[in-house]
């Protein structure tokens, strides 16, 4: 046996030897239906296979955020009608003021992205992963609504690590979308990604020490700006350093393209002019918002549920109302007998919330609450109009997801749930195209 073979044998056995026991077998059916209000009594909570499925997801989504994710959702606005234009009545009901198309990751066995019709769910185009690369995230926001940044993960060799692409949507042409490789020399996972409104510049945030914010040319790949800070991190939601961040919500450009807005340490929003000289990130950046931790503790539960939905705790029914970004929270107090001790942090970012993230942590004696709030439960916003009164997003709770349009206190489910195999984790919006207001 060669040295390499011996090393592999000893290594794998050493790793395996740390597992010394297994949990008991559970042979229980998998619940597979969503629980809607108005459809009879709530089913018992999943305690079987699906119940076990979530705990391993908890560390994955843990602390973080969700969002990076299983499901990258980018809303493409005002795409001229494709082959699957929605019907008139349906379009009127759903599409009034919201984007007509989205880009989302395909199921695991078909790596790539789809361009879908928000109202009908019809797929109007696909973007395949290049050879040797798994496309994992998409970021939008260019003002033409046709230019997006896509990142992929190269498996080995010259393309190992993060690979960057420009995705151009070309409606009406034979090829609905084109994926062009970008010579961006950043191969580590980004902490934040945002494309400038004119599509010519790409801001990338990197975690670590120092925290780094760079601006590259999307045309040549040249480094245009380079700022850093010796302590702190660019992140929208505080999370441990070895967990996954939320690159879609940590960074974006000012609509004018004159500066980059970034979330700092999960509690402040700063703006740095794109003309600021290279060097100290914080010295050049002004603080535009400080927050955003809004804890509610004890037996008070903050409800973030859309009309027609209930968040159900043991003994506590919490008829919620959707909380529009920036609006005061709608809270309901749990019955005195129903202790459900946890707190909830809600993250707001920028002038309108685009990350209403329930970083919910168990707090206190969880034995008093048989429903254990999972990291990752919460509300995720994929798109918002300018004043935040209309949102596309998903509400993730108790292993189920409600995906659709939230308009004031009403909720319209969308047929275009972008991936079929996310029921256990809920749909979380991985990449968000920040569009400058609805039509």
């Amino acid at each position: 046996m060669t040295r390499a073979e011996e090393a592999i044998t000893s290594t794998t056995r050493a790793i395996a030897s740390t597992v010394r026991d297994v949990p008991p077998l559970r042979l229980e059916p998998v619940p597979d239906k969503l629980r809607f209000s108005g459809q009879g009594p709530a089913r018992p909570r999943a305690r079987g296979w699906l119940g076990r499925w979530r705990p391993w997801l908890a560390p994955v989504t843990a602390a973080a955020v969700v969002v990076a994710v299983a499901l990258a959702l980018v809303i493409v606005r005002e795409l001229p009608s494709g082959p699957a234009a929605p019907s008139g009545a349906q379009k009127d009901a759903i599409m009034n003021g919201v984007p007509e198309y989205y880009v989302a990751s395909m199921p695991d066995d078909r790596p790539g992205f789809v361009i879908g019709n928000t109202a009908s769910g019809a797929i109007v185009g696909t973007v395949q992963s290049p050879s040797g690369v798994l496309l994992t995230a998409v970021y939008g926001g260019a003002a033409d609504d046709r230019t997006f940044i896509v990142t992929g993960n190269g498996s080995n060799g010259a393309n190992a690590g993060t690979q960057w692409y420009l995705l151009r949507i070309t409606p009406g042409s034979k090829t609905a979308a084109r994926l062009v490789p970008l010579p961006i020399p950043v191969h580590q996972p980004p902490a934040g990604v945002a494309i400038s409104p004119d599509g010519t510049k790409l801001a990338i945030a990197l975690r670590g020490t120092p925290a780094v914010l760079r601006v590259y040319s999307t045309v040549t790949g040249a480094l245009l700006r380079n700022w850093s800070a010796s302590s702190g991190q660019i992140m929208a939601v505080t999370s441990p350093p070895d967990s996954w961040g939320n690159p879609a919500t940590a960074l974006r450009w000012l609509p004018s393209g004159t500066g980059v807005v970034f979330a700092w340490n999960g509690k402040a929003i700063r703006v740095i002019p794109s003309t600021a000289r290279d060097g100290n990130l914080l010295a050049s950046a002004t603080v535009s918002l400080i927050g955003p931790v809004v804890p509610t503790t004890g037996i008070t539960v903050t409800c973030d549920a859309a009309q027609g939905w209930e968040m159900i705790f043991p003994g506590i029914v919490c008829p919620g109302t959707w909380r529009a970004p920036g609006a005061p929270s709608s809270s309901a107090s749990a019955p005195s007998g129903g202790t459900c001790p946890f707190d909830q942090r809600v993250t707001f970012a920028f002038d309108v919330a685009f990350s209403l993230h329930g970083d919910m942590r168990e707090h206190g004696p969880v034995s008093e609450c048989s429903y254990q709030v999972r990291p990752g439960d919460g509300a995720y916003i994929g798109w918002s109009n300018a004043d935040g009164s209309v949102l596309i997003g998903s509400l993730v709770w108790d292993g189920h997801t409600r995906f659709g349009v939230f308009r004031g206190d009403s909720f319209t489910p969308l047929p275009a749930i972008p991936a079929p195999n996310t029921s256990a984790t809920g749909i979380v919006l991985g990449a968000v195209a920040w569009l400058r207001g609805g039509r």
């Binding site: 073979e5 592999i8 395996a16 597992v19 560390p59 995230a137 980004p190 670590g208 991985g430």
Partner: protein, 177 residues
Amino acid sequence: MTDSRLSSEAAASVTALYAEHALGLVRLAFVMTRDRACAEDIVQEAFFGLYRRWGRLPDTSAPLAYLRVSVLNGCRTALRRRARLGSLNPFGETAEGTGQHAESAEARALLSEEQRAVAVALRRLPQRQREALVLRYYLDLSEEEIARSMGVTRGTVKSATHRALAAIGRTLKEGSS
């Protein structure tokens, strides 16, 4: 045979199989994913799948092979999902490339420096190569058995193993130079 009788027979058989093979399969999944909770769930899912399909299995005399394939499939799915969730961070490494991942402190502590380097190199291998190495050198399976477990030809197993060994060898060489 009635459904209820089939069900109780399946439950008894699968429970017995679980007692015999679960630990080994969780270890296999843990070596592949380096995530204990994930490994346990993959194995639970594999056994639950076996239970559900018990009456329809073409060959209930070889359940371990079936379970092994299920576990490997589960590992592939979990790693793919992790890659997507991690936004290009399928190995759970930090941005600085420090090699931290979702394994236990105990697992890290038990590994020598060389073993840690090999573990990192293993995780960097393409999925197919990693599977081939683990099945060959951890489970000690033959090429034929590996090919069946992975659903590929023996030639593919050979080439994947060869390339993976070369990559690990380079890692060890770099580490010692």
